[in-house]
Amino acid sequence: MTTSAHAYSISRSSTASRVAAVAGVLVLIVLVSAPLWAGRADMRLLSEIFLYLSLACLWNLLAGYAGLVSVGQQAFVGFGGYMLFALAIFAGLSPLAAIPLAGLLGAVIAVPVALLIFRLRGAYFAIGTWVIAEVFRLSFAQVSALGGGSGTSLPVAIVRDMASSRSMREATTYWLALAMAVIVLAVIYLLLRSRNGLALTAIRDSELASESFGIDIWRNKFVVYVLTAGLTAMTGALIFLQKLRISPDAAFSVNDWTAFVIFIVVIGGIGTLEGPIIGVIVFFLLRETLSDLGTVYLLILGVVAIAVMLKAPKGLWGTLKERTGLELFPLARRVVKKKS
């Protein structure tokens, strides 16, 4: 036995990832305590950031890891929102119980949807998901019990049920949004570290090679699609719990729930777990400084996204990672020399 063979080991964590973990916990503690120090408007903005972060991470899992480029995730955002309203209004469920149920229903409806649109490949798959979102929008516009085309509001009694005081209610929705983002990040992180995650990474890098290793590509993609749909529907339920009002056009808006989300992921760095976090920060900084410009702001966003895609297709984080090898979430395996 040579000694050199034992001088190395495989490790996933690095100094950067350990520092990031500690920093992450500190940030989380600060954020959890926000109802104590933040104003009403700040908390609303933070909640929105968390929910966009959750949507962005989910879309990134779908497009960046499973190679399923969807431009129809608004189907599940809107579906989740409508399920929350339907369960609360018709079944009298408390919103807290309705949110996970909305997620479950989102995953269930994603099964037949996936069976149908998985027949389309690549870019045609993308437009196929859009058709599904349109079908959802037009169908919900036909349900007169939910207000038809003009939509409906969450009854005051149901909102009051959530918590006694207004500030407590706002704190609850804030914590729910934060919890949603944390759950999504945790689920994706654990998935990517698992055996299935390894398969997904292999599929991302080369479908042909991974198939020849015996990976069932269809099944892996199917599982990711259904899981993403469920979590997206839960996020959608939370989004519309915050808005307290839902209408088909708002619920199934391609701009709000897909275009912005894609920009966040592309700017931050597709196919990395850190990318959506960076992207969501950049997106909201841009939005808060430029939103007075109205449509011009959207023009700028479109130009920035195209420029990033052409000049730095890996996004901000991907470019940084390529140059420095930095990784905040310990996913990659690396060879480390033992200290002994």
Partner: protein, 287 residues
């Protein structure tokens, strides 16, 4: 009789959908590119037609003489300057870049023309109709559009299979590197394909503008109609695309006949049924 009328109008409407679809089908065939901004280019062409008819006082059909070459020029420039950089094995860059383009066109039009619905006026042509036996009337305009759609499909079919340009299209489509070795400049050929695609879009846009009112937000809807026509008809089959457009138009009109709210839904459902039963479309080209 209402039903026969609905079906007849649906067939004619299908011609317009085939025009939406033809350009989409063409560039996918040549370079496997799906242009998410395709519908927004249709709306852009409609606004271009509107501006030309109102400022120059031309009739919309004459305006086509300007709109079509301008759109073709935009297509060539766009392909050479932007889209050629995105082509490769990865489908993500072209998708996301054209998605960004879609947002830019929509908001650009919104900035210039506002969100108000507009319509291109075609004068007496709009109301002219031909009487058919059995109390049926067919508008001259829908008939003209259908005729143009058939002519465009036939023309594209001829270019693709009978002309030197079409041979170049097929060559780069089959094997880009070998085509390049044989002296074809693929960047230029792709530019020409996009120019041709947007020339058809120019036609489609002006017809759309004469037929119905339009505003900057309706582009994605037109993309979806075109896409559905392509998939129903079968990938790579231009005549199939025409039939796909007709099936879509007829389903929408039958849906509207049952309940006005079901018009669009019926079209989408027809598409989903075809996808479930014949995932390769009704008339796939045999590869």
């Amino acid at each position: 009789m209402d039903w026969i009328n609905a079906i007849l109008q649906g067939i004619l409407l299908g011609g317009l959908y085939a025009l939406f679809a033809a350009g989409l089908s063409l560039i996918f065939g040549v370079m496997r590119l799906v242009n998410i901004a395709h519908g927004d280019f249709i709306v852009l062409a409609a606004f271009l037609g509107l501006t030309i008819t109102t400022t120059l006082g031309l009739s919309p059909l004459l305006a086509l003489i300007l709109v079509v070459p301008v759109m073709a020029g935009i297509g060539y420039g766009l392909q050479r300057l932007v889209l050629n950089q995105t082509l490769g094995d990865d489908i993500l860059p072209p998708l996301l870049v054209t998605f960004g383009l879609s947002v830019i066109i929509q908001n650009g039009l919104l900035e210039i023309y506002s969100a108000d619905p507009q319509k291109i006026s075609a004068g007496a042509l709009e109301t002219a109709s031909v009487a058919l036996p059995g109390d049926l009337n067919i508008g001259v305009l829908p008939l003209l559009m259908f005729g143009v759609a058939v002519a465009v499909i036939a023309g594209l079919q001829w270019i693709f299979y009978r002309s030197a340009l079409g041979r170049a299209f097929r060559a780069v489509s089959d094997k880009q590197d070998i085509a390049q070795l044989m002296g074809l400049n693929k960047a230029h050929i792709f530019g020409l394909a996009m120019a041709l695609s947007l020339a058809v879009v120019g036609l489609a846009g002006v017809f759309l503008g004469i037929r119905t009112s339009f505003d900057p937000s309706i582009g994605p809807g037109r993309l979806i109609f075109g896409f559905e026509a392509v998939i129903i008809g079968g990938l790579g089959n231009l005549w199939g695309t025409l039939i796909g457009g007709i099936i879509l138009g007829v389903s929408q009109n039958i849906g509207a006949q049952i309940n006005p709210g079901w018009q669009l839904l019926a079209g989408h459902i027809a598409f989903l049924i075809v996808l479930a039963v014949r995932p390769r479309g009704l008339f796939p080209r045999i590869d």
